[in-house]
């Protein structure tokens, strides 16, 4: 059921954006299509939240990034007249759609293995890179507001330990911390 929703919604959005490009005018009815896409994203996010496998986070992260990009897109559409962003926002959004489609395709699947994880992380990175170039990424302040600082404080040391070995199974860590200390 989900696949037709993605295809249909993205087709509608693409058509609207192409029309805007042709006419040079922003049509705010696209916000309804974006909301529809957002509802679809919510269903995928819920699926990954319910998944017991912690690697499901990577897939959630991918969809969440689309969510945040849509927030920014919506904001730019709403303010397009006053910011004279008309019809640049339509062109910028159009560039992003193939990357969004690719991320959604992989997150719709339920397969979690090394290949799909690697793929979803790479497509998420590519999506973010394109969004940054099109000015469709949320500013850092939004990220800062969402971060749970208390949680981060307690987990910080362990995050750093993980940096050394992300692409391999955890190897034996020397118990004596002095051994890993770089400067004595």
């Amino acid at each position: 059921m989900n696949i037709p929703v993605r295809e249909r919604t993205l087709k509608q959005i693409t058509k609207s954006l192409n029309d805007m490009e042709t006419t040079g005018q922003v049509d705010l009815s696209i916000l309804d299509n974006l909301n529809e896409l957002r509802q679809f994203l919510q269903s995928i996010k819920t699926k990954w939240l319910q998944n017991k496998n912690s690697d499901g986070f990577y897939f959630y992260q991918a969809v969440r990034n689309i969510d945040l990009i849509l927030d920014k897109m919506t904001e730019r559409f709403k303010k397009s007249k006053e910011n004279r962003d008309n019809p640049k926002i339509a062109l910028d959004s159009l560039v992003l759609l193939p990357a969004i489609d690719q991320v959604l395709k992989i997150t719709e699947s339920d397969v979690i293995n090394d290949q799909t994880i690697d793929f979803v992380l790479r497509t998420t990175r590519d999506l973010r890179n394109v969004a940054t170039h099109q000015n469709l990424i949320e500013p850092q302040e939004v990220d800062i507001a969402l971060i749970d600082k208390e949680q981060l404080k307690w987990e910080f040391e362990n995050i750093m330990k993980n940096i050394d070995m992300p692409t391999h199974p955890p190897f034996k860590v020397v118990k004596d911390d002095k051994e890993t200390e770089s400067c004595t």
């Binding site: 750093m160 692409t167 391999h168």
Partner: protein, 291 residues
């Protein structure tokens, strides 16, 4: 007489860039933690910032391509892996917070990458050099590790061979002979330490590829001294054990074969930095409150 400054290039391992991006954020978020890599990573970037025209820092293609993956996995492994939340709303907030943290670090990573030269690498030369690096790794595994260090009796035999000139000499007293055996024993133990780490991660294709890329890039800078800054003591950087003693069997092999010096960011900082920068660091790295 004018002072001659040797030209230098520092290739950064992924873990240096990722840790720096996390650390800068943690400081800006005013999270009261202090990490041993904080000063090191930031100090090194302060040199790149201070001497932009020299383009000292380099990010290889592999480092650029895997940085986001490494960051996401590091954060997820810690924040999410042991999470057992049944309430979906709470879990959603938790996930959103984690995604935001990864995004914030990625923002920072882009600004750090902007301080680095990002050269392309010829695939033809890269493949040749990767072959050389893999050959080195095999030599370390098959010859050094298997023949000398992998088993206790081999280590004891190695100590015995090294001590033989003294232990078989009748002019030395017994306590002196024992002292020599102890000294060689410590030396062999130290040499084996980094090899143990190396073998735990063998075959370490990612590090091998970064080294091969560095060798390839080095061709374009024949008059530059090359360094690799890494926080990983299992391949690039020496393992420092109690008393400040180094275990650097793998690191020395890299230096001998490829003329590339590998070490932790702090050590590289002192190797490349000029005294005035050490005295007047651009970035304030001392005011993080200890946890």
């Amino acid at each position: 007489m004018s002072k001659t400054i040797k030209k230098q290039k520092v290739v950064l391992d992924t873990n240096v860039i990722v840790s720096a991006s996390i650390l800068v954020n943690v400081k800006e978020l005013e999270i009261p933690v202090r990490h041993r890599f904080y000063d090191q990573s930031i100090q090194l970037f302060s040199v790149f910032k201070k001497r932009p025209s020299e383009k000292i820092g380099i990010a290889t293609p592999l480092v650029r391509s895997e940085a986001f993956l490494v960051l996401s996995k590091a954060v997820k492994n810690e924040l999410i892996s042991n999470l057992d939340l049944n309430d979906l709303k709470v879990k959603e907030n938790f996930f959103n917070s984690t995604v935001a943290f990864v995004s914030l670090c990625e923002h920072k990573m882009h600004s750090l990458f902007a301080l680095l030269e990002q050269p392309q690498v010829s695939k033809y030369h890269f493949d040749i050099n990767l072959g050389k690096v893999i050959q080195m790794s095999k030599y370390i595994k098959e010859y050094l590790w298997k023949n000398r260090y992998s088993r206790r009796y081999q280590r004891e035999k190695e100590v015995e061979i090294r001590s033989k000139p003294i232990t078989t000499d009748p002019y030395w007293k017994d306590d002196q002979k024992e002292e020599v055996i102890t000294t060689h024993g410590d030396q062999v133990y130290r040499e084996a330490k980094q090899l143990e780490r190396f073998m735990n991660k063998y075959p370490n294709r990612n590090d091998e590829k970064i080294l091969a890329e560095t060798i390839t890039i080095k061709y374009h800078y024949p008059d530059h001294k090359f360094y690799i800054a890494s926080c990983d003591a299992g391949f690039f950087s020496p393992l420092r054990i109690e008393g400040g003693v180094k275990s650097d069997t793998v690191t020395r092999e890299i230096e001998t074969r490829f003329k590339i010096t590998c070490d932790f960011p702090r050590e590289i900082f002192f190797l490349i930095d000029e005294p005035d920068i050490q005295d007047n660091g651009i970035l304030d790295v001392q005011d993080n409150t200890p946890l």
